[in-house]
């Protein structure tokens, strides 16, 4: 089932938390939902899961509005603060979640075993939730979200508090689920987005500021080629001047004088690799390094969300 978000707006008092957001997520797609603190990610997710009602706009899941609550059965949701009943033990809690989510009685046992295995809860499954460490509580949160094998998964910062091993496993799990399901996950860990998501949506102050694959975002942010090079047997100042004189080069920065490291920005739609190589040969400089520089996701994020 796809998720279609149409002109969603939600205010708390005078403050607009979500301001006219529209986007679509298809089955088999994992959408990374990014944005600085207070951008409106959690609010959007609460609207998708029908906990909150939008002031205007709508969310359609498989073409049906979520407003009447009937689509909730197709959604698995991990809330941001992962609220759980501390006095229940893990198995009882998951059983209860399965019943509430209409898992047929004869399948409940199998589903719970599956979740315990997937989320690594084997050793802790008879403990009370209140006695679990934060990471294990997070795993219980993930297990309850997936217990009814939902078509749509909404995960608000799913990997917070997990240890590195579990992070790798959970990311792999999300990737695998994402092949058939529709997944939206929010996170502040940018490498996580690169590792798990097919698509990135960045919002800032309730508005969408970027939408696309990591590659397309990079391209948009950069617009032109940037090379980092290192020369030996060359005079840095002379090198800067000579490279600057090349027809395709728009700008040169001296990054490190002793090591003679330079950053070369090409003019739009051109590349300078060949010209630099030829220049070095002609001048007798040794070109020991030449790497294309990728804008880091962190920088893209920063540029889009700092104002």
């Amino acid at each position: 089932m796809d998720i279609r978000i149409e002109h969603l707006t939600k205010s708390y008092g005078v403050q607009k938390a979500v301001d006219d957001i529209s986007f679509t997520v298809r089955p088999g797609e994992i959408l990374g939902f990014l944005g600085p603190n207070g951008a409106g990610k959690t609010t959007t997710m609460k609207i998708i899961t029908n906990y909150l009602e939008p002031d205007s706009g709508d969310v359609l899941i498989g073409g049906q509005s979520v407003r009447d609550g009937r689509m909730k059965r197709y959604i698995g949701y991990l809330p941001e603060h992962n609220p759980l009943y501390p006095e229940m033990n893990v198995i009882d809690f998951l059983t209860w979640c399965a019943q509430v989510q209409d898992v047929p009685a004869h399948l409940i046992g199998t589903r719970i075993r599956e979740m315990v295995r997937l989320c690594g809860l084997e050793r802790e499954k008879h403990k009370k939730i209140g006695e679990l460490s934060k990471g294990y509580r997070q795993r219980v949160g993930l297990a309850q979200a997936m217990i009814h094998d939902p078509e749509v998964l909404i995960l608000d910062e799913p990997t917070t508090g997990l240890d590195p091993n579990q992070i790798v496993e959970i990311r792999a799990l999300i990737r695998q689920l994402g092949q058939q399901k529709t997944v939206i996950l929010s996170t502040h860990i940018l490498p996580e987005v690169e590792a798990t998501c097919d698509r990135i949506l960045i919002i800032n102050r309730g508005r969408i500021v970027a939408d696309g694959t990591p590659q397309t975002l990079r391209k948009q942010a950069q617009g032109h080629q940037v090379l980092h090079i290192r020369l030996e047997e060359a005079d840095p100042d002379e090198a800067v001047k000579a490279i600057m004189a090349l027809p395709t080069v728009a700008g040169v920065d001296l990054l490190h004088v002793e090591e003679c490291r330079l950053e070369v920005q090409s003019k739009p739609e051109t590349t300078s690799n060949r010209a630099i190589f030829d220049l070095c040969k002609q001048r007798g400089w040794a070109l020991v390094e030449m790497v294309p520089h990728e804008t880091r996701l962190e920088d893209i994020f920063r540029n889009l969300t700092m104002n």
């Binding site: 029908n50 906990y51 609220p83 009943y85 509430v100 309850q144």
Partner: protein, 238 residues
């Protein structure tokens, strides 16, 4: 309805697991027992094999105990955030409120069932009016349903259990006691209106063994209004 039952069952399990159930039952028995059997106008003085003393006491015991039972049911879910967990599952706001109501009504029924030995004891002591006893218990259940409605509404108003408890007492005391006083100190149509609102009057008429539809409607509508307001309050989050 099925969902309401799943919610209620979880609540009842938690109640028994946490020992609160046993504390409430023992405290209720002790409280109503002392006043019924020992203090003041006790059963032995009356020289009559009936439970009217117990019913008079139980009405007040319930007045304090029901807010204590209902106070956490919604306030605590709001405080800890678990209300978001429940309401984003395949559960409607109405199922949620009905589940809480069902759980409280069952808790009160269990507590009241624990007072049945009083009934057996008295029936050994002398000939007891079984009809009046059944009517008395039935009246207590109706009264409880109404106070649970009030209690749940109070619980939905706050994130703090103590505030919810005091609010429930504050609202209930009008029905328990104050409307009755107002009725006595006014006259004419105003007095009749207060009379109509007083839970005490309606309870007394049921306890006498007269099952009037007016009394039934009174308690059920009080309960209904409480639950409707609670659902409305739960929806307010949106």
């Amino acid at each position: 309805m099925n969902k309401a039952w799943i919610i209620a069952k979880r609540e009842l399990n938690a109640w028994f697991d946490s020992l609160v159930a046993y504390i409430v039952i023992v405290a209720f028995l002790a409280f109503s027992g002392i006043f019924t059997w020992l203090a003041g106008a006790d059963i032995f003085l009356r020289q009559q094999a009936d439970l009217s003393v117990f019913f008079g006491v139980a009405r007040w015991t319930l007045f304090f105990f029901i807010p204590a039972i209902t106070m956490r049911l919604i306030a605590e879910e709001k405080r800890s955030g678990t209300i978001e967990l429940v309401l984003t599952k395949n559960v409607t706001d109405r199922d949620f409120v009905l589940g809480k109501f069902l759980a409280s009504l069952l808790m009160v029924s269990i507590v009241l069932a624990c007072t049945l030995p009083y009934y057996f004891t008295v029936s050994i002591l002398g000939p007891i009016d079984h009809g009046a006893t059944i009517a008395g218990y039935f009246g207590l259940l109706l009264l409880s349903a109404a106070y649970i409605g009030i209690g749940l509404f109070a619980s939905s108003l706050s994130n703090n259990q103590i505030v919810a408890f005091l609010l429930a007492l504050f609202i209930s005391i009008f029905f328990q006691f104050l409307f009755d006083v107002f009725a006595d100190s006014t006259s004419g149509i105003i007095a009749r209106l207060f009379d109509m609102l007083s839970a005490m009057r309606h309870y007394d008429s049921i306890a006498r063994g007269v099952l009037d539809s007016k009394d039934l409607i009174y308690f059920l509508s009080l309960c209904f209004v409480g639950l409707v307001l609670t659902e409305w309050r739960v929806k307010q989050r949106r």
